[in-house]
């Protein structure tokens, strides 16, 4: 197993918007802008990151659910690629302070 794969297979399983909040976001032609209420920063997201954040806006999700949603949305049939993509997106949203992983909260997930 390569390093990248180890990285996403070891990834926490449950994700939500930081603090369980709902973030404000707008989408135009597949470009998202999202307001981070904790930092006051505004982030621009591509369509996949924006969609993923939109799904998390409806409530906490498991990594597997997010992967399935992204797989359907992008019509991918390569699970490894999907997991790597979702892993990278979650990492970057987490770095931006928009989402957080299981362990940081006790929430119910779908």
């Amino acid at each position: 197993m390569g390093n990248d794969e180890t990285k996403f297979f070891n990834r926490p399983d449950h994700w939500r918007i930081c603090g369980g909040f709902v973030v404000r976001m707008h989408c135009w032609d597949g470009d998202y802008v999202v307001y981070n209420p904790f930092s006051g920063q505004t982030h621009r997201l591509d369509i996949v990151s924006g969609r993923l954040l939109q799904w998390l806006n409806t409530g906490p999700k498991t990594f597997g659910t997010l992967c399935r949603d992204v797989e359907t949305f992008l019509e991918l049939d390569d699970q490894t690629l999907t997991k790597a993509t979702v892993g990278r997106i979650l990492e970057s949203l987490s770095d931006a302070g928009l989402v957080e992983a299981q362990g940081d909260f006790d929430g119910r997930t779908s």
């Binding site: 707008h26 135009w28 621009r44």
Partner: protein, 297 residues
């Protein structure tokens, strides 16, 4: 020896768009007071039963420059936010003081470093960095009968999503002073002020029509990011809404202060109209392009 106060050098409270403003020159010499009266003397008087929203009061500083030249301090609502400047640079400092106060304390509106002009109640927002040519462009549009809403500080209502007039004297620099003076031969200009950080500058008083309509807000119908370039072909390029959104954040003076309200107001603006990047080579061309865009909306 203390200078005598000159009560006649106080214009009283004037209505400048949303704000009542007092520029009190009673503590300085008549030359500055005359310039302030020239630029602000035709603004309508504000309600005198309430204190003005903003009071800028230039006053002599005890410290002097070598050879005895005098410095002026600028008190803005009780604060001294700036270092004193030579007396000849007091007028730009008064303008900066007004901007400083509005940017710092206005939380009900989203502020942009932008010119804004309107016709028939429909406004065009012209955001641009310093030197992009927005003041020259807005002055030239004013010469063509457009209402000046703002030359460098546009005000968007975070609730009503309308552009509110804030017609202040237009700050022109270097060659653009002569360009605008040719376009507006009967217009009223301040003295030229040399040696400022922006070089030689002069202020143009807004047109009588712009002052008459200073209580009428307008609906934004387009956002155009203008940039003057003497070389190359003119370019008018539509911008994606997300591109415009992020650029408008960079041009806002208080986006990070008003937080979610600013985000939603900006989204409302971005949603409601088209956005363009516009590189122009001549004012005539810019005026005709902007007029055509406005007419089609």
């Amino acid at each position: 020896m203390a200078s005598a106060r000159r009560p006649e050098n106080d214009l009283g409270n004037r209505r400048v768009g949303l704000f009542s403003v007092s520029i009190d020159c009673t503590d300085v010499d008549d030359a500055l007071a005359r310039q302030v009266a020239l630029l602000y003397g035709d603004y309508p008087l504000a309600d005198t039963t309430a204190p003005p929203d903003i009071v800028v009061r230039p006053q002599w500083c005890r410290r002097r420059l070598p050879f005895g030249s005098r410095l002026v301090d600028h008190r803005v609502n009780g604060d001294f936010p700036f270092n004193p400047v030579p007396a000849g640079h007091s007028l730009p400092m008064i303008e900066i003081g007004l901007n400083w106060f509005i940017a710092r304390y206005c939380t009900t509106h989203l502020l942009f470093h932008a010119a804004a002009v309107a016709r028939d109640g429909k406004a065009i927002l012209l955001p641009g960095a310093s030197g992009a040519g927005k003041s020259t462009l807005s002055a030239s549009l004013m010469a063509e009968g457009w209402q000046l809403l703002s030359d460098e500080f546009a005000i968007l209502g975070s609730e009503d999503r309308r552009l509110h007039p804030h017609p202040r004297p237009v700050s022109l620099k270097e060659e653009s002073i002569d360009v605008v003076a040719r376009a507006l031969p009967n217009a009223c200009f301040s003295n030229r002020i040399t040696g400022t950080a922006k070089g030689t500058i002069a202020y143009l008083k807004p047109s009588p029509d712009s002052l008459d309509k200073a209580h009428r807000s307008a609906v934004p119908v387009a956002v155009i990011f203008p940039r003057f370039s003497a070389q190359g072909a003119p370019v008018l390029k539509p911008l994606t809404k997300a591109d415009s959104f992020m650029r408008l954040i960079d041009h806002s003076a208080n986006y990070f202060t008003i937080m979610e309200a600013g985000f939603e107001a900006l989204a409302g603006l971005v949603d409601s109209c088209p956005h363009y990047d516009f590189v122009y080579r001549s004012l005539d061309q810019a005026i005709s392009e902007i007029t055509a865009i406005h007419a089609g909306l």
